[in-house]
């Protein structure tokens, strides 16, 4: 009685592990496929969206657009890794610009001569 239960438990545990393993294997496959096909496009679009947000707030940085242009060119000439790095840099610049706007929306007042 006791023994039987134990075997069933072990069996189901093994089954679960195998299923999880298969699932994650399948997942990795899907994700890496996505990076190869449209990872650049979607990352680029997200970075450009963020740049537009910074611009709308009036705080876009000078070189962000250039970085995105360079990223596109790198991607077209097959330099995927370089392209992704440039996109990440552009995205980070816009995050910083938006944070700058947030800070400055009150901080500017401290500089006004009294």
């Amino acid at each position: 009685m006791f023994k039987k239960v134990k075997t069933t438990a072990v069996a189901s545990l093994v089954a679960t592990i195998m299923t999880l393993g298969l699932m994650s294997y399948a997942n990795v496959g899907i994700v890496s496929n996505a990076i190869a096909s449209d990872g650049f496009e979607s990352s680029w679009a997200a970075a450009d969206e963020q740049r537009k947000m910074a611009a709308k707030l009036g705080f876009e940085w000078r070189d962000t657009k250039k970085l995105l242009k360079k990223a596109k060119a790198a991607n077209e000439s097959g330099e995927n890794e370089k392209a992704m790095k440039l996109v990440a840099k552009a995205h980070e610049q816009s995050n910083d610009a938006i944070a700058q706007q947030e800070r400055e929306s009150s901080a500017w007042q401290s500089r006004v001569p009294k």
């Binding site: 009036g58 876009e60 000078r62 070189d63 400055e104 901080a107 500089r111 006004v112």
Partner: protein
């Protein structure tokens, strides 16, 4: 809200007290916001001027219109020599020719601007009907378009020439920007002011960081000019540009310098910045066009 409702239904006495309290609070808030709005531009200007006259006690206030040369003796001497054969003279001449040359419809700039073009002192101003700031350069293009001519590009070239001629005609007029008692005008002034003091760009500098607290310091080979009088002498001949440029060209250059994206010349925010910055120099003279390094 809910709290107030409950209190108000609790009996005539308490509800009367509450009502009075609300009236008093509302009145106080209104009074304070009225004071903070109307104390605005005037006291801003006084504090701004005082900031620079205290920082540079050797410079007479009327001399701040000469930019960095008002605080830097050695470069002032060179500049005074340059002013004997001013590099902006050509621009004044071609601006004068443009002033006199009839448009295709045989009208001229004189049909838009009175006083032989000596109108710099009327700009920038708040146009209450249009609810926007009108600058001299904007008005020049509106004159052209109203007479069937193509608008000119705002940064340099023919626009700088005609503006140089009109500024020359206007030399000695007082800077006297008026911010009317109008919430829209006040909001425009406030936006210009906020822009001036906000840090921007990858280098994280505000205009005031360089031209206020940093004025007199060196940035590479340039000494930073004080902001008081900053808009008096435009358009300007700049040796670095090898030619003339308008005030908004300079704004764009200073934005890019700190690695911020520049705005378009005559964009709403640059006109509001011009309104604020020119207001800060109220009482000084217009002395354009100018010459700078």
């Amino acid at each position: 809200m809910i709290f107030l409702k409950i209190r108000l239904t609790e009996g005539p006495n308490e509800s009367e007290i509450m009502k009075k309290l609300i009236v008093v609070i509302t009145a106080t808030i209104t009074a304070f916001s009225w004071i903070s709005l109307h104390a605005g531009p005037d006291s801003d200007q006084a504090a701004f001027e005082k900031y620079f006259t205290s920082k540079f006690p050797d410079t007479p206030v009327s001399d701040f219109i000469n930019g960095v040369y008002s605080i830097d003796k050695p470069s002032r001497e060179q500049w005074e020599e340059i002013e004997e054969f001013p590099p902006y003279e050509l621009a004044i001449d071609s601006g004068k020719a443009a002033w006199n040359k009839p448009f295709a419809n045989s009208k001229t700039y004189a049909d838009c601007f009175e006083n032989e073009g000596a109108v710099r002192g009327n700009y920038p101003y708040w146009d209450a009907d249009r609810k926007e700031v009108v600058t001299l350069e904007l008005a020049i293009n509106e004159c052209r378009v109203a007479n069937g001519e193509e608008p000119l590009k705002y940064n340099k070239g023919k626009m700088a020439d005609i503006s140089a001629y009109m500024s020359y005609q206007s030399r000695g007029q007082k800077i006297n920007v008026v911010i009317p008692d109008d919430p829209d005008a006040m909001a425009a002034y406030e936006r210009g002011k906020e822009f001036y003091y906000s840090k921007r760009g990858q280098l994280n500098f505000s205009c005031f960081d360089c031209h206020g607290s940093g004025s007199g310091n060196l940035v590479r080979a340039d000494k930073l000019s004080p902001a008081l009088g900053h808009t008096s002498h435009f358009p300007v001949y700049r040796s670095k540009w090898g030619g003339m440029g308008t005030l908004h060209r300079r704004f764009g250059g200073c934005n890019k310098q700190v690695r911020a994206a520049a705005f378009k010349p005559q964009s709403q925010i640059y006109r509001e910045l011009e309104l604020f910055l020119t207001y800060m120099s109220n009482g000084l003279d217009f002395n354009g066009p100018g010459a700078r390094k």
